[in-house]
Amino acid sequence: MSGRRLSPQEMARRVARDIPDGSYVNLGIGLPTLVADVVPPDREIIYHSENGILGMGPAPAPGTGDPELINAGKEQVTLLPGGAYVHHTDAFVMMRGGHIDITVLGAFQVAATGDLANWATDEASMPPAVGGAMDLAVGARRVVVMTTHTTRDGRPKLLAQCTYPLTAAAVVDRVYTDMAVVDVTPDGFVVRELVAGTTPDDLRAVTAAPLHFAPDLAVLVPA
């Protein structure tokens, strides 16, 4: 019986801890967007949105929003002082050209080789959709994934090899799950932190790839 899973907010706080002051960051839609709300206030982070915003701020106060000022998830946002609007092609110059320091992406599957599958499953009843995921995955300086460790029905998301169509090969640097912090290294997955109460065997039981455990394996205390 493993320790309890982190809540989405707890995961977001753990991810946020690793984002240095002054970073340019793109947050994928879904879980990753939570990160913006929990970055320590002493850090100045510049958020990028693929639709042409650099210096994106939080959601507007009710009734004050600009309906055309939306983020990649189509939710209303604001612009910080110092922010700028750019057109789509320039927004992707930033993404693909190595100008984004960190992107936090969701994932269906991550392989021990760093392969990422986060745009299509094998479900043929829904039309495929890719958005900006492939550009971000190949272009950001550091690609981290924020995801539950398993699917809703309990299947592993960390695998020796992805079975879903790839977004990009060998791009993921680190995975933050609700059970652990796992680096992708030339030797495969290396677990850096385990949520309090979770043992290495607990994690192995829900991971479909070999796991190495860091010599200085730390306890991830929810914050």
């Binding site: 639709n51 609007y85 092609t89 990009a168």
Partner: protein, 221 residues
């Protein structure tokens, strides 16, 4: 004298024909040239290829074009949205063709068309099934896929202000695909919130110079 302002939406879309490839600006509901798309619907043209980021939601603009069976093919990056019911219905029935393109590649292909380039290599999608059937080349140790220009007959975009030379400025994130689409089409039409006099737009801040724009029509917000 140059005057790209037209008096009506009908004038703005005049001449668009069956089978045209039409770029439609917008990301989600931001920057969509709704009035122009509805004018194309009124025009009654068919067999359109629509290039746009999303495949329309609800019953308006692109969703309406699809519902009324005017669209043969859609080229986009993210057709699956809450409310994209008409697209999904026709797609499942095999009655609309979908060409899925990574979003950065979509805008870059339009840029290549507008910039007179013959195509480019991008790492985006090179490891994915979207590269199937395309040339893949390792450049500086990294896989890249060759992507072709995506030129169009028409671009329909939304901007904030225009002068009679067709210079455009946009409003916040509604800028999105407007500037690149304007460069890639033989006929670029912009709906704008308001016309301004020549010289009123700051020459340091014009986003789309009029050279890329053929017609502008005023559609007050």
């Amino acid at each position: 004298m140059i005057d790209k302002r037209v008096a009506s939406l009908a004038d703005a879309v005049a001449g668009i024909g069956d089978g045209a490839t039409v770029l439609v600006g917008g990301f989600g509901n931001s920057g969509v040239p709704v009035a122009l798309v509805h004018a194309v619907l009124e025009l009654g043209v068919r067999e359109l290829t629509i290039v746009t980021n999303n495949a329309g939601t609800g019953e308006t603009d692109i969703a309406a074009l699809i519902r009324e069976r005017r669209v043969r093919k859609i080229i986009c990056s993210y057709p699956r949205s809450a409310g994209s019911v008409w697209f999904e219905k026709f797609w499942r029935a095999g009655e609309i063709e979908l060409e899925l393109v990574p979003q950065g590649t979509l805008s870059e292909r339009m840029r290549a068309a507008g910039a007179g380039l013959g195509g480019f290599f991008t790492p985006a999608g090179a490891d994915s099934p979207l590269a199937q059937g395309k040339e893949v080349r390792v450049i500086d140790g990294r896989k890249h896929v060759f992507e072709k220009p995506l030129p169009a007959d028409v671009a329909l975009i939304k901007a904030d202000r225009a002068d009679r030379w067709g210079n455009l400025v946009y409003h916040s994130a509604a800028r999105n695909f407007g500037p690149v689409m304007a460069t890639a089409a033989a006929l670029t039409v912009a709906q704008v919130r308001t016309f301004v006099e020549l010289g009123e737009l700051d020459p340091e801040a014009v986003v789309t110079p009029g050279i890329f724009v053929r017609r502008v029509v005023e559609v007050p917000a």
